[in-house]
Amino acid sequence: MRIIATILLATCALASLISAQATSSSQNTQQNAQAVSAQASVTVHEVDLIGLKKLLSREGEHAHPLAVNFWGTFCDPCREEMPDLVRINSEYKARGLEFILVSVDDPSDIKKKVPQFLQQVGAVEMPAYLVNASDPETIINAVDRTWNGGLPATFLYDAQGHLVFKHTGRVNPAELRQAINKLMSAE
């Protein structure tokens, strides 16, 4: 009887460990789950122009504030500012801010170079995408007509999809926080 109980207990423990890993990308805030998700590798999802437009749209279930950072592994200031963005994400995620990263790296880097850097810098809790479109002009236009395509670039949208903050070049974390605070107090 004892042996069966021990086996059952062990199986339960194993099952909960596996399910904790599986749900690491969900809203689970248990310490255990967080520790496990930090070890899990980052997945970068490829999107085309239509996919990017969908991400930026604030309709329906996506009706909460959105911060988007465009970057590339080849861009020094992009890499340098990433820890700041990771910190800001951890501060505001629970308050309802969605902070996504969109790489403009070569699609061939989606399996190794891009996720490896994100893993390295601790950007494991931020949805990561790589936009693949033959014409950068179409991407730039879809994001902001006044954007010259310089990297890095950070954009902040309110829950209705209005652009409330934008910055090209390495972002000043205090300025971005201020913009997010302003947005959240207005919502």
Partner: protein, 203 residues
């Protein structure tokens, strides 16, 4: 009744004109020199310390200024293409001139970089971003093409792909060909991803 009709007609006409104007040259840059505006004369030293003016740099048929970088991998991906543009068009009357406006890169570094990558065109050092500010340049690489009268006819990217295998739109070359043929440039403002210019003002 007549007033309402006239008003409606004016509204429709202005909308049509607006739509036509939009379609004409593509999107318009929102800062710096506008397409069709003239470039005023300037004096700038190259990376070897030699002084140049617009008058001394301009080609007979036109001038292409390209903002470049020592360390930006996007700019560097275009090194060969820029040198080829210079070689292809200098004899045909368009001079290609590089401009390094990065406060984080010295003239010596830019000079060494040019030697390493076999860039033989003139490279100006835009200390304090004077020319970059005047033109509204924000990235590297970024090209500004002027006609024989120093009027801006094209601004933006060299082509649509960092790697050479995926080029499907040779925007700067097309603009230079149009300039030489006396044709209007089809798309006068086309963008691409690049590294932001490191301005000395800290922008």
């Amino acid at each position: 009744m007549k007033k309402q009709l006239a008003f409606a007609l004016i509204l429709v006409l202005s909308l049509m004109v607006g739509a036509l104007a939009q379609g004409a040259g593509g999107d318009a840059p929102t800062s710096g020199l506008a397409i069709g505006s003239s470039l005023s004369d300037f004096e700038l030293s190259d990376v070897s310390g030699q002084k140049h003016t617009l008058a001394s740099l301009k080609g007979q048929k036109g001038t292409a200024f390209i903002f470049i970088s020592v360390q930006c991998p996007v700019s560097n991906a275009y090194n060969e293409r820029m040198e080829r543009l210079y070689q292809d068009y200098r004899a045909r009357g368009i001079n290609v001139v590089g401009i390094n406006a990065n406060a984080t890169e010295t003239a010596d570094q830019a000079k060494q970089h040019a030697a390493e990558h076999h860039l033989t065109f003139t490279i100006l050092k835009d200390t304090n971003n004077k020319i970059a500010d005047m033109l509204g340049a924000t990235n590297t690489p970024e090209a500004f093409l002027f006609d024989a009268n120093n009027k801006l006819v094209y601004r933006g990217r060299i082509d649509n792909s960092r790697n050479t295998e995926a080029i499907s739109s040779n925007d700067l070359r097309d603009a230079m060909d149009a300039l030489l043929a006396g044709r209007a440039v089809a798309r006068s403002y086309v963008r691409a991803f690049g590294c932001t210019i490191k301005r000395s003002s800290g922008q």
